[in-house]
Point group: C2
Chain length 220, copies 2
DNA sequence: AATAAAATTTAGACAAATCTAAAAATTTAA
DNA sequence: TTAAATTTTTAGATTTGTCTAAATTTTATT
């Protein structure tokens, strides 16, 4: 089945809302889509006709399995393109969202497969969000503090708890950003400092104080 | 100014037609666009309102300078994406057109600039068609027979006159395809054979008979 | 339980892009 | 140069996605 750009955008939006709330209502979807409740009702009828929704008049609604499958394909494309834009074309990670919003609607399945392969089948996008695989399986994010991970395990930076300018300056110096892949080479018991190896960089030492503020994840 | 996908498709199509015939008429544009003459008239009104056309009722029409600029931007995007699909994602060159038809409408200028840079500012797409630069300048195609080009000049294969299965098998063996870049290392006067160096391949020898059927181009 | 408030849907309209059928302008050709 | 053929345009409809305003249903409150 084929879907319009508008349908795909609604489906994706419903998907994200129902992840948080289980069931979605017309007003919140309208707010999220920057449109009017009446427009939402119109689109819901179309999506119900295409059998993508559990939906009853005046009650809430959510995607059924078919709808979730479509949503995951769009999310997959969005995040793969974001990865491409940042890792290949060297965009700043905070500039890529609107472009990926357009690219995610390109329809070729083979394009997605080849892009995925070219990028090395990445599991997380530059914002740290998981990229569903071609079957719609979402890699589980196992978030840990950098000071706790085993040595030699390749992990991806997913969040930073201390977002002061001083901390960000430090992370920039170490070339650590959201999505950066790194390993811990050694842990020094004396002061809790770590020798880490950032992908494509030389190893360096960071203090326990820094490590405590960096959270990372890896696939199970 | 912004343009819809539909407007861009009409503009591109008018551009290609007027390259051949100087001026374009409603019926031929309708045929080329797989649509009806009445639909063409409707769109022409819009394009005239946006001051992209020289157009008078019942007379022919053509793009003015502003219209040509838009056309060249779309052509540039189309051909850069085709290059990307073939050279980076390893699509067969005969499969990329419909995908590039979608990608060419992605609007970000920065995306095009970065893509162009990433690809190494290519001058010709995988079909041998010239890629306009960011100012709309089209590289001049200087087509010559492979047997006639100076040694050590990097050239791009643009056409093959003998398209028999035997010839294509041979070219495939040598890893020569449309768009392949190569140099002639030596010319042997004895039998007219050539030692050529295909980009990323080891040098090899081809007969004068093969060379006579391969046409190449390079920028002036 | 009755009423007020909030959420949702219906009804009717509009813009973009398309279509068919018919009218108008232009070109061709007898 | 007038009639026929061709080309182009207009008129009016259709589809998709959107909107506003009003009506309806559900939920909350007194």
């Amino acid at each position: 089945m084929n879907f319009t750009t508008s349908e795909e955008n609604y489906i994706k939006c419903i998907y994200h809302l129902q992840q948080e709330t289980g069931t979605v209502n017309t007003n919140s979807l309208a707010a999220e889509m920057h449109t009017r409740p009446a427009s939402v009702t119109d689109m819901l009828k179309k999506l119900k006709a295409k059998k993508l929704l559990q939906y009853e008049r005046y009650r809430g609604f959510k995607l059924n399995e078919a709808g979730k499958k479509v949503a995951l394909e769009v999310v997959r494309k969005h995040r793969l393109w974001e990865y491409f834009l940042v890792e290949v074309l060297k965009f700043d990670w905070d500039k890529v969202h609107p472009i990926a919003e357009e690219l995610e609607h390109i329809s070729s399945d083979e394009l997605v497969q080849r892009l995925d392969k070219f990028l090395g089948n990445p599991s997380f996008d530059p914002h740290g969000d998981p990229i569903p695989d071609r079957n719609g399986k979402i890699p589980v994010l196992n978030q840990l503090n950098l000071s706790e991970i085993p040595v030699k395990k390749t992990v991806t930076v997913s969040s930073v708890s201390n977002q002061t300018a001083q901390m960000l300056e430090m992370l920039k110096h170490y070339k650590i950003a959201l999505g950066t892949q790194l390993q811990v080479n050694k842990k020094f018991a004396f002061d809790g400092s770590l020798e880490i190896k950032v992908l494509k960089q030389s190893p360096c030492i960071i203090s326990e104080q820094v490590a405590k503020n960096v959270f990372v994840h890896y696939e199970l």
